[in-house]
Every structure is written in C-alpha cells, then in structure tokens.
Symmetry: C2
Subunit: 478 residues, 2 copies
C-alpha cells in the first residue's frame, strides 16, 4: 500500500529529470555487495523511496517533452498491478492462463480490426493459429519476429536447416529514417546486415528510387519495411503506394509496416485515412507503451494472414500441445506474463471514441507547436508533422535560415540540448536527421531537437513556456 | 489502492486452479469487440476483479505443487509496483535511467559473485562492457542470447555477414532432459536445429558418450549445454567434469550452463558445492522468476568474460553512445523496463544468509517427499533429487515395480493427472521422462508426475495430504 502511494505521488510530483549526478558517482553509491544478512522488505522499500526515487526521471511530467512514454493511464496501472499479483503464464492455457489467454486474443483482435486487417469470426477461432498476432515486450522484439517471418517466407524451412546464402535475405529501408531495430534484427536472426537504404523525400520513400532498388536487387530482397510514423519525425509513408510498388515488383516480398508511433491514428475516423494501405502489409508492429500510456513494456506484432505465424512456431512437450497455448508461437519468450491485461483495460476504459479523441488532441497540439515554431524568428521546422512529433533547429546568432552553415547550426543545437539537460526543467529529444526538406541545407545531416505532444497533461501554455525557456538558454550560450 | 488490495487477497485466498471452463466457452465470453464508448477505469477494474480473477490459477497457493513460480516475495512485489510507476527506460542511462542502471549493475554482480565468476573491482566498471551480464525477460531469451554468443564465438562477424555453413553451428545437449529453449534458440538465430543429443545416466551426461560426440563432430560444435537443474528432475550435472571434458576436446567451444533452477543453491554454503565448476562455463542463465518468488518476468544471462558481450552489441544514434547505456547490449530488447528492481529488493531484503536458508528448506522438503514416495507401496520415484523437484509414477493395480509394463503405467498416470486437474484442489506437473534409473523399464519413456517444493507455504502436512488425495483419485480410476 505504501508502494502504490509512493508510485502515484512520484508520477504527480517528481520533476521531469532526475537530480544530476555523475554516472561514476552513482556507480560508487549503488554498486555494492549483497548484504550478508537481509534487511527485510520494509527497509528495502524505504530505501527505494528515499535513495532511488529522487534519482529517477519522470516521463509522465508534462515538461518531459522528448518522448511520450507516460505510462500513466489509470486503468492500465490498476490492471498492471493486478496482473503482476495473478502471475498467470500464457505459455499454456488450461492450467496456466485460463482466461488471460482469451483477454490477450481479444485485445489482439481489437488492434487488428483498428488497422483494417480482417478478423476471423469468433466461432472460427479454434486455435492460436487463428488469432493473427502476438503480444511482445517491445517494438524491437516485434520487428525481430517480423524479420524472422520474412526470412521463413523467403526460404521456407530456414528455422530447421539454418541460413544459407545470406545475401538473399536483404531488406529495404528508407535511408536515414529506418529504425535501428530492423537492422539489428537481421544481425540477430542470422541473415546478416544486408540493408538496402533507399533515398527519401520528406522522410518518405522516394518512390522512383524504391522501384529502382527493387529492380536492382531482384530475388535477394526478403522484406521492404515502411514506417507509419518513423522514430524521428513520425512521418507516415504513403503506405498504399509502397505496397503497390512492391507487389508489382515481386509479390513474394514480405511487406512490414512499423506503426509503433502510428497506432493511435487508427482509432480516429478523421485521421485513419493517413494509414490507408497498412492493411495490405504482411505484418505490422505497434507499441502501446509508447503511444497509449501503458506502463512498460508492451508491444504487439499483427500479421495479415494468421496462419503465417506457423512458420516460426516452437514445439516441446514442456509446452502443452493444446489449442490455445501461446507458448507455441512466441519466439524469444518462454514464460509469458499477462502484460496484455494493461492494454485491454486501457482500451476498454476509453473505447474507440476515446482513443480517437486522444489521437486527435495530440495531432492538434503538435500542429499548434509547429505554428509557434514557424512564428519564431530563430526556429526552423524540419518537417511537416503527420502526428505528434515536431523536429526543429534553433538558429544561432548570425546564421539565417537557408544559409547552409550546417556545422554552426549543429554545434549550437548540441550545446542547447546539453544546456537543457543541465537545467533539468524541460526535456526534448535530440538526434541527427537528413534535411529532407532543405530547410538548413539540402542533403545535409542536421542535429534536430524534438518535441512530442503525447503527454495528456501537456497544454498550449507549456508550449509557449518551453520556447521562452529555449530562448533564455540560447541567450546564455551566445 | 483497490487493485493492490485485490491482488493481495487473490494471492492469499484464491484456489490453486481456476474454475474449470471449456476454452471455447471462455472464448465466447471474453473475445468481444472494442466498445465504441469507453466504460472508464473504475468499471474496467471492477470487471477484472469480478469476471476475470475467478478464472485465474493461483501459483502462490501451496497446493499448486507442479511449479514454484509463486511471485509472492513482499519486497519484490512492492518494488515491482514502484518500478512500474517510475517507467524508467534502461536503454539509455543519463536521462532515461540514471540510478536504475546502477541498481541493475549491482544485482548482476551479486548473481555473478554467487556463481563464482570474478567481478571487476567497482572502480574498474567504466562502461556496460565491464559488467558481465544482462537482465532479460526470461530463461528462453537468456538462453537464446547465449546461443548467439556461441555463434559469434564460432564464426566472428556472423552478426554482420549472416550465417554460412550452418552445420558448423551444432550444439550438444543431454538427450531427453535438454530444455526446448536452446533448440528453439538455434532455429531463431539462423543456425538451424543442428542438435546433437548425448545419452545420459541418471539425467546427467554419460561422460564417455560426451567424449565420443565431441570427437565425432569435431570443429562443428559451437556450444555444449549443461544443466544445473534440468527442467524435469532438477538434476545438476557434474559441471566440473563436463567443463574439463569439453575444454580437453576443444577449448574454443562455448560452454553454457542453464541454472534456471539451480541458482538458489549458490547462496548456501552447504549446497554450493553441488554447482562446483559452473564458474568455468562461458555463460550461465538464471531465472529468478522461477526460483526466487519474483513476479513475472525476470531472468539474467551472466558471462564469464564481460567483454564477450561486445560481440552481440547494437549501435544506433537513437541509443545514446554513452558508457552505461544498456541498450547497446540487449538483443531483442529496445525499451527496457526496470524489472531488476524486483530482484534487487528481494535479494537485499533476505541477504545472502536468508537466500541460503530458502534453498536449504526446499531441498529438505523435497527430501522428505522422496521418503514419503519411497514408503508408499504404489509410488515409484524416478530420480534421486538434487534440489526441489521429485518426479514419480503411480503404479496401477496389478502392476508391480520393475515389471516393465510401461504402457499401462503411462496410461494410468495420464488419467491420474487428468483427474487431478478436474478435481482442481491440487496441481502437479506431468511430462515424459527417460527412465534413466530403470525404475519402470530401463530405457523406456515414462509419463511422470512432479512435485516442486519451492512454495514457502508448503509444509510436510501438505505432502501427506497430497498423497492421500492421489490415493483417493487412483482408487476412483480403478
């Protein structure tokens, strides 16, 4: 009870960033020996509260604007606590997770339906092979399983025989905006990092270049990956176009969409058209712990053809050979906790309409921030926001928009981000970005700052306060 | 607050097994459409309590004797709640997980020290590459990463180039007792299921056969896997012998020990010698959610040479290139939750002495159950218990010990297990087991029942009650 009280107070009151400490000082404070004699549960809990919590970041604070992993949905938090206490294990159904299995199936179907995949009728769900998705611990794992499906699609039976001739397991990603997880996935699943990067226009595939790459590498491509919200600008690719281009070139290529950021759009009638075509992709990754305020960690991989998951199945007589044992179809996972209850509770508590409103509010707030950036004399917006992210640069004194002094801009923005971290009141994310719209210098790589408008406590007032804060920090840097 | 109250009541009061329900009935009750309009967090929480909890198993109940995933350590539960609320992300250190990173390092070092690995001095921990371990979501993932380390050890650079000539990535496991996860791992990481099964004696490697297999497949073996507690009988292999035999045959082979069950022995002065030699293995998997009452899910992979983890590292400028970012070294995981706080709290609250006592109590209780089995006229014990598991058969009427009518024995034990499940009061695990000690028929595969003595609420009285219950069910079957 103390723990939950502490948790709620932390989310409400803790500052966005933790007290600043040198990592080596933290190391010396906390890397110690296991006590010979135990101190008891109460003393340990007190130690966590007194010593550790002041040194934690609080992503639920509205001034933590770089990401949106708030993890603060009330229904999800309550469900997370109950699920932890129940200790269900979805590796088996009958004795290990009698009802949990069907809650997981329900929520997977809700996600599939939102994305436009056709669900089998309820009475046709006879086994896990009729579900068409699986819950994982994160987008990286979901994407890895997608690449494994692509591998087996390209060369059936590789699971048993092993990879031969890895060059034919190449993947195509958009240059500069592809997420590291699909490249890493290929290194993990044994196909190697045979990554074909296709140039982009406005953070989307240059479709002519995509056609060229498909022709050039014909027969050697196992997957084309497109983003329904890349991890930098949250730009949604022209998914229907990409699907058509790829299918025309080679209908056997596994089409994978990473919709880790894009999922919420699917619940809004108004925003849903931006995802059009996603239902033609063979697999889609979504990341509720990033975009639906679910406490860590929860992702899902959905597949267009439910039966395709059979190609990556696992057999053992330690996993029950029963119709609904998810242990048959979750690579990298044996014991499987009931994380899906958090998402089931969150989605049920908001309903489709509430989820749509959440998405619309975020998009509107990002749009408002884009206006403020555009109106600011020293800020340059680097993309046209599709969703809840706005990436921009702060121009240092003496540098004007379009002058092309990329190095000066990048140095200044790096320094500005360091000042932001040191000050601790606000957090924006920073990363390098191709200057696809040529706002600083066409083709250059720029150091961007990024705001994300996912936090439900973020208001317009915060946006203006943040810009005033940036101005003050920038002034100090001059 | 309601949620935690519910959780505690569930663990204390819910029966071992859920109300019996046909899976298809559960499907029809719970696989529904996403509501158009939300019902709110309170209504959803009430629905979980009223509709779902009565259909959950309760592994913390002492009559759930088939496994020991009780997840009921008070310090771990409190830490699990707090960690969920803090939403730290160990992919990065400075802004994402300032102190969480060092708690994870501390607990990894406690595990390493218990196993006999040499830890670098605290002041020599300058980066994640000096830690020598990583926290994962389960034993299956830990074992998969171990196999990936073996793959890179066998053919450095495979991460980038992909697998070529998969036959040279064979692994050796003990026949009949190897866990499915290492075989599955090889299918996932692209080396294929090239599994060499070596015969066992008493559920340990037949050492002569091991030598023969090493000679026969020389140059093609990437790893030898040994069990410090296999997943059926929890037998601990002769780890020092296995290490010596393998090193003599080929010192380059990656030695992996699966100590998912064996970890607690490391904390007891008296029991520790049974693990002797484990510190010579290149990697060790441990599974605190199975053996240390940690709520799901938490496992760790420890490596003898900390630097060896570099061979499976990931780079991206979305992961901070900072010294202590665990995101650089956690295959399959991007966003990384603070699960390790549960284990840190549990171990700290008990201390080394308390952890040792927990192990000793379990071993004593399993020993007592073995005596009861031996004293029972219809029960046949199938192995000599090393730890907390006792596997046995119930002889049907008319069949005497050693008569060799395996089919009759297996049919009867399957029926007995079904009766146990239908009755719902007690739960034992069942699986097939090679009759290594020849108690039913040498060389046969027998259908075993298994008790695990991990639950801290399990008493001698429970053991005698369980046997009386089995007798009653057996009588009904005749």
């Amino acid at each position: 009870m103390d723990a939950i009280d502490v948790g709620i107070r932390f989310k409400r009151e803790a500052p966005a960033l933790a007290e600043p400490s040198d990592p080596l000082v933290l190391r010396d404070w906390f890397v110690d020996d296991l006590p010979a004699v135990g101190v008891g549960a109460e003393a340990v809990t007190a130690e966590i509260v007194e010593r550790l919590l002041p040194l934690c970041k609080n992503e639920a604070h509205p001034q933590f604007c770089g990401f949106g992993d708030t993890g603060d949905d009330p229904a999800a938090l309550a469900a997370g606590i109950i699920a932890m206490f129940t200790q269900q294990n979805l590796i088996n159904q009958r004795f290990d997770a009698p009802v949990a299995t069907f809650i997981e199936i329900a929520v997977l179907r809700w996600l599939r339906e939102a994305l436009g995949y056709v669900n089998p009728q309820r009475e046709d769900i006879q086994t896990v092979w009729n579900v068409g998705g699986l819950i994982t611990t994160g987008g990286t794992m979901s994407n890895t399983i997608a690449m494994m499906l692509a591998r087996e699609n390209q060369a059936p039976g590789t699971m048993q025989s092993g990879v031969e001739d890895p060059e034919r397991f190449s993947i195509i990603v958009p240059a500069g905006v592809g997420h590291y997880s699909v490249r890493a996935a290929c290194t993990w699943i044994g196909t190697g990092a045979h990554i074909i990067q296709v140039p982009t226009i406005g953070f989307r595939y240059d479709q002519d270049e995509l056609r060229k790459a498909l022709a050039e590498h014909e027969g050697r491509i196992m997957s084309v990956v497109a983003y329904a919200g890349d991890s930098r600008t949250q730009t949604i690719d022209r998914l229907a176009d990409v699907a058509q281009i790829v299918r025309e070139a080679d209908p056997r290529i596994w089409l994978h969409a990473d919709a880790c950021w894009g999922l919420p759009m699917a619940f809004s009638e108004r925003l849903r058209p931006r995802l059009a075509g996603i239902e033609q992709f063979d697999s889609v990754t979504v990341d509720p712990h990033k975009v639906l305020a679910i406490p860590y960690s929860l992702s899902a991989l959905l597949v267009r053809e439910p039966e395709s998951l059979r190609t990556v199945s696992t057999f053992s007589d330690l996993i029950m050979q029963e119709d609904f044992a998810f242990g048959q179809v979750t690579p990298f996972v044996g014991t499987k906790s009931w994380g899906s209850l958090k998402l089931w509770a969150m989605m049920r508590s908001h309903g489709r309409a509430g989820l749509g409103q959440i998405a619309e509010r975020r998009v509107a707030l990002a749009g408002r921030f884009a206006e403020l950036v555009d109106a600011h004399p020293r800020l340059v917006r680097l993309h046209d926001p599709d969703m809840a992210a706005v990436a921009f640069c702060y121009l240092p004194p003496g540098i004007e928009d379009g002058t092309g002094d990329v190095e000066a801009v990048n140095t200044f923005n790096k320094a500005l981000h360091s000042a932001l971290l040191a000050d601790r009141r606000w957090f924006l994310h920073t990363f390098t970005l191709p200057d696809d719209l040529g706002r600083i210098a066409p083709g250059a790589t720029v150091q961007a700052l990024r705001l994300v408008s996912i936090n439900p406590h973020l208001t317009e007032q915060h946006l203006t306060d943040l810009l005033a804060h940036l101005d003050a920090l920038a002034l100090d840097l001059c």
